[in-house]
Symmetry: C2
Subunit: 517 residues, 2 copies
Amino acid sequence: MNGAQALIRTLAGCGVDICFANPGTSEMHFVAALDAVPSMRAVLGLSEGVVTGAADGYGRMAERPAVTLLHLGPGLGNGLANLHNARRARTPVVNVVGDHATYHKQFDAPLESDIDSVASNVSGWIRRSMRPEDVAADATDAVTAALGPPGQVATLILPADVSWLDGAETAAPRARPARGVVGDDVVAAVAKALTSGEPAALLMGGTSLREPGLLAASRVAAATGSKLYGETFPARLERGAGLPPIERLGYLAEFTMAQLAGLRHLVLVDARVPVSFFAYPDKPSRLLPNGCEVLTLAAGADDAAEALARLADMVAAHAEPIRQAPSRPDRPAGPLTGESVAQALGALLPEDAIVSDEANTAGLWAPMATAGAPRHDWLTLTGGAIGQGLPVATGAALACPDRHVVSLQADGSAMYTIPALWTQAREGLNVTTVIFANRSYAILNMELSRVGAEAQGPKALSMLDLSRPDLDFVAIAQGMGVAAERATTAKEFTRQFERALAEPGPHLIEAVLPKSL
Amino acid sequence: MNGAQALIRTLAGCGVDICFANPGTSEMHFVAALDAVPSMRAVLGLSEGVVTGAADGYGRMAERPAVTLLHLGPGLGNGLANLHNARRARTPVVNVVGDHATYHKQFDAPLESDIDSVASNVSGWIRRSMRPEDVAADATDAVTAALGPPGQVATLILPADVSWLDGAETAAPRARPARGVVGDDVVAAVAKALTSGEPAALLMGGTSLREPGLLAASRVAAATGSKLYGETFPARLERGAGLPPIERLGYLAEFTMAQLAGLRHLVLVDARVPVSFFAYPDKPSRLLPNGCEVLTLAAGADDAAEALARLADMVAAHAEPIRQAPSRPDRPAGPLTGESVAQALGALLPEDAIVSDEANTAGLWAPMATAGAPRHDWLTLTGGAIGQGLPVATGAALACPDRHVVSLQADGSAMYTIPALWTQAREGLNVTTVIFANRSYAILNMELSRVGAEAQGPKALSMLDLSRPDLDFVAIAQGMGVAAERATTAKEFTRQFERALAEPGPHLIEAVLPKSL
């Protein structure tokens, strides 16, 4: 068999069952080989940001890698921002980038570029297959690398001739690498800090934000009086009625500083010391109170939930976790605002929903309004590279076909990867997209003042303004095959949202909000 | 003044008068400084591929750099594909990428990444300003580097604190760097080859494809019997009635080999030895007949037109150039096909039009049908990274507000940078976009066979198919504020195209072609 056939078969043998693709000529043998492997689903994205973001969303929910198929350096470039987000989310991704034939590279053909240097920005592992005979071993290594722990982007560069030449064979899958076990001494040291009587907090991130970790941490907090925080932008947070609620650290540095004020011990659980998202004149970058000791209970490669369970057994043997009581807000009425959209979400969010949250400023109220809704997963913009929301929703829906995905999407950010809607339509995905249409890069209006840039002339403001002309997301969505409606009142939105949830297939609602300026 | 103010003022002093921007928080001081410099126009792109492609189109037509404004590594990634095309076009671009504050980088905030390594892929010059005091000199160096010759992408990385701190001053502009003068011995050697009586050809590229170079080369060809070829994908080709016609080398290797068959001397004029766009099993990469000698008359940094003029004086003192006779096809009737769309273009293309050509397979007939149309410029996909067409059209229209831009756009390629339409609407640009809607990545259907990948199962074919659902470009364009219509017959298309050319502002026509499979 040729290299491409060996690659797909070997990946499938390793449990990789979906390929998000935007191929070109150098990937045609990979494409041709897809049909011979029934277990490998192939999903076309009309731009590479859709492909890589969907692989991120898929990996977050399925906990195993999807494979991407990108075309040379420019294709990788187009997909780089969402691979950046996947890197920050520590999502397992097998990122296959086609390249010119090995002997063709010396001629510097028009699409020639240095794929490795671009890939190095987002990849924890990079390899170039140089012979068909190597492809299967490279593929298993890529899957193993992608799984980590922690998960990462593993980039496999596949030259066209390695793809088309015969001589390849498949390789057997390897066992999934185990997470590390945290030492008892580490657990004991954390226990000592948390029971010292001094103000202490657990900062939870990564894999600890799932049910087992949350339950154990909640017991610890209840028994020791420690505070419980979640990282600002978790890859995947399990929440809702019956699960321990957790307060995420604020996006703004001053909020985080207020949350952490007075702490003497901060215990990191698969999380990092909080830093400001951006630097601001005369404001700190590292957001840790003076005199606060930092302890690490579990790092990214560790089994954080198991370490938390041992910690709970040590300091909270008889404590019960605090569980969020079921509670839904009433259906909203009155004007449509970020707050009333959130209220409708809280009123209607279905059981077991997956929320892809890139609503940014206008979505500020959504987490609070859905805190007591039925249990659900919340996926956030881990790396800050906007354009994540729609593709991640797409990938999550493919990973979990029995769950409804709600995609909360800021209007400005939506435009980077808007062709994701077409993939949702083609695949018939149960995704309801809510566009928070405030006709503005609202966050930049806020940041323009916060960075101390005071001169806000018309040219500057026009760079933050999405009107002139207003984007008509209903037309855009319909143009990509997605049923769409526009809401201008809270009642209208609620009715449309309820209907969208009840019907199969993708829907989009443009929620027209007061213009943010 | 602060670093951002010094940067914009210095760039404006160097003749840079337009900024294509997609800013984030780290670029807010740059944005705030825009209003203080009246000569600097600011144009918002809703994704970075629009920004960089527009800078490419602007630079090709204005022959001076635009400045881009991109947000950190992910923003640069999103803009990388069109910077790749600009690099291949040797377009001058001053590519400003904002970064975190210098002291903030150590904290690995969510958007932190290695900007330099990504930029190295497309930039002939990279610098990071480290103090406000350095910004002005860095800006003049960037403009000088961008101008070359040949033109290139000069990337200036601007940390947020260097932007906001005071202590900067402006710097005076420098003289535009001159092109090199080709030695008389080189011209004489070329003259000898061309008058040897053996089969010879000139391969013209880069700056030689403008009127002075074309006229001189045509005289040379007329006097010596040499053939005249243009490179396959020129950045900017002047053509039409009154100018010497030139045959471009084919995209397919076998076409180029047929064109060059039997040649004994190939003279490169700001062009490179032809290589196959992709490698194919058992086909050559370097497309040069056996025994053909290669001579270089002018390289990228040289004054190719002046060298051609001296060559013409030497071998063709009394020869006249061949000039294309004015000739337009009749308005087409019958079914709408790539051929009849091309016929309508030939019938109606306005004087002094600029054609941005990313029509790919369906646009095959357009160059021939417009050969005798009034004089115009033809801009092609220089680097093969699709998604260039709409942004380049946008930038070209801003560079030449008195000329009409016709944007020939394949449907698949359109989706990578479709928000360019919104920028065309906001800026009120005279761009008429023709979408060649064959509902397919048609070129890949061709390539799938050409690479020898024979097994064309339903999964493979679905990766090349843009239907299920069909994209409705009329709805998408209207959703971005661009007037749009759909044409299904040649007459309908011709009528719509004529109307679009007559009305100010952007228009889009979705030309529904037979589905390519």
